[in-house]
Subunit: 338 residues, 2 copies
Amino acid sequence: MKNTGDRRRTIYDVAKAAGVSISTASNALNGTGRTNAETRERVRRVAEEIGFRPNALARGLLSKRSHAIGMLTNDTYGRLTLPMAAGVSEVLVDHGVSVFLCATNNDPRLAQLHLEALLDRQVDGIIFTATRLDLAPPVQLSRLPIPVVYVFAEGPADSVTFFPDDEQGARLAVDHLKELGRSRILHITGPRDYLAARIRAQSYLDACGDGAEAMFGEWSEEWGHEAVQTVFARPGPKPDAIFCGSDEIARGVIDALRDLNVEIPTDVAVVGFDNWEVVARQTRPPLTTIDMELKELGHRAGLAILSLSKGEPVPAGITRLPCRLVVRQSCGSPLQSD
Amino acid sequence: MKNTGDRRRTIYDVAKAAGVSISTASNALNGTGRTNAETRERVRRVAEEIGFRPNALARGLLSKRSHAIGMLTNDTYGRLTLPMAAGVSEVLVDHGVSVFLCATNNDPRLAQLHLEALLDRQVDGIIFTATRLDLAPPVQLSRLPIPVVYVFAEGPADSVTFFPDDEQGARLAVDHLKELGRSRILHITGPRDYLAARIRAQSYLDACGDGAEAMFGEWSEEWGHEAVQTVFARPGPKPDAIFCGSDEIARGVIDALRDLNVEIPTDVAVVGFDNWEVVARQTRPPLTTIDMELKELGHRAGLAILSLSKGEPVPAGITRLPCRLVVRQSCGSPLQSD
DNA sequence: AATTTATGCTAAAAGCTTTTAGCAGAAAAA
DNA sequence: TTTTTCTGCTAAAAGCTTTTAGCATAAATT
């Protein structure tokens, strides 16, 4: 008597098969109202048998909660979005909440279209994410009737926002280098107009004090390569460690150092930022780097939007989640499996 | 009289404001039934004014079509999934269809959970995607009441499936090398138990004939590096071109060649596979490679599931979409901007 | 014995939309 | 004039669930 595939079973089918009314069936299944234990069991058994599953549309229509949220991203080739989206999805699926993924391509028309579709679908909330921390969303998200959470993206002043703690991450890198006895630490990072780059650089400067130098450039291997060549070509003392603003830069740095016959980590230790495994694992030697815990960011954002959608209070403002140091072999630490 | 944010406007509000019945309002808005042109315009204007947008839940409940689909993936760090998902989303948003993203992490329990949630939500179809072509889905997808499309993943024999055309892609690479006058072409690729690796290798062998050699190993830079060392250490003629099974391998190959002071492309030309920009653009010289057109795969899968969900016929079986040669500088072609 | 309380169930409404069937009135045909 | 056709609208049903209000019956209290 399993569902024979002709059409989905409804609670009406359950009620009929169990010989009770629809309301009793509903009460029995949800544990609401007053039901005899025996009836309750019977209804549940019957529901199980015929393969009844409540229609989420009907349920959402009534409760005005769709148990779905939208995730708006402007990143399409992103190593950032998918780990976060997976984190969101992972933490919400156990609460019966599904995630609409909307890739806006940074196109305002597309963003507007997606936003309207999400509202029409009565989503319980929206998570906005971007590839840059300081880029405004391509669409007006502030006066919405549903909660919005920003993750890896800047929202209005009083919004709920999650960022990786760039300052702490940078400190983690510098402290690690210092603990290993390095004293002349150089910082090579991305463009100065990226907030994240500025924060990391400032944290590095605060930690290293006099003689510290932050070189801003591009988020590319090429820039890392070029910066190293510049530094090693000019007169004066050479660094014994380089803290890079991204793993890609670190990769360029490592290549350039090898070209110069500088030993890693003996002569110069290198730390990256991102823990982008496919890069960090493949450098020679494998790269010690900072992980931004993207999945955890997704978890937190998911839980926040869940609370907000239930009307529970969530502290507004920016929450910065700690980064994690991933030790590989580019700093001369005791070799350890990763 | 714009929506003041207290609650969403319903068609009841439209009807009242326009002084007509609910059915007339619905007919006017959808162009169904018989309506006077003047009334129709008035209703539409009023709807616009008060910011009415139909509730997708109610609509879906009635029509039994939710205008949403699910995308099931077992890849979480994927450079593959997001471009495809973006392609799907992009092509469907204009048809009013939204996409649920479900990351299964290759965990059958999670996959089952997601699948049930999707069915409860009455999705119109499911797109399954994986990181490997020949991996079975972690959950039973065959006897579902809704259509399923497989993309970059293997489905049952009679299912609708989209793959990149690995054979054509490999041929593209080999032909390109031959046209440039290379004759001793070597193939370095991933593990033999990957279907894609076998297809590409076979295509390469067919095109190159006698003396061709396919070396199977890992999908890693390290393997590319190691393979080159092996080949150049042994006696006998050396290749004048290397076709790599992935951009990562190509990267390792290029590094190893540089270590051996072999000039690229003068002595050896290199072609990759993936057009994974962040790798292919950063090698020195930038890598000529094969693009699998992941976004286009997403487009096609999206259109296929759309047709299927409307009951329109879609040819079953495997459709292989052509790959594209991306010329950069690792083969000695005339330098061109990319 | 008469009244109150508790128990287990059900009918009906609500949530929002689309579709079906059908009702008046006007215009056209007989 | 009477009958038919057409036009423009509306009431009501359907889609599936949860919740509210309430109805019998049995048990407990006065």
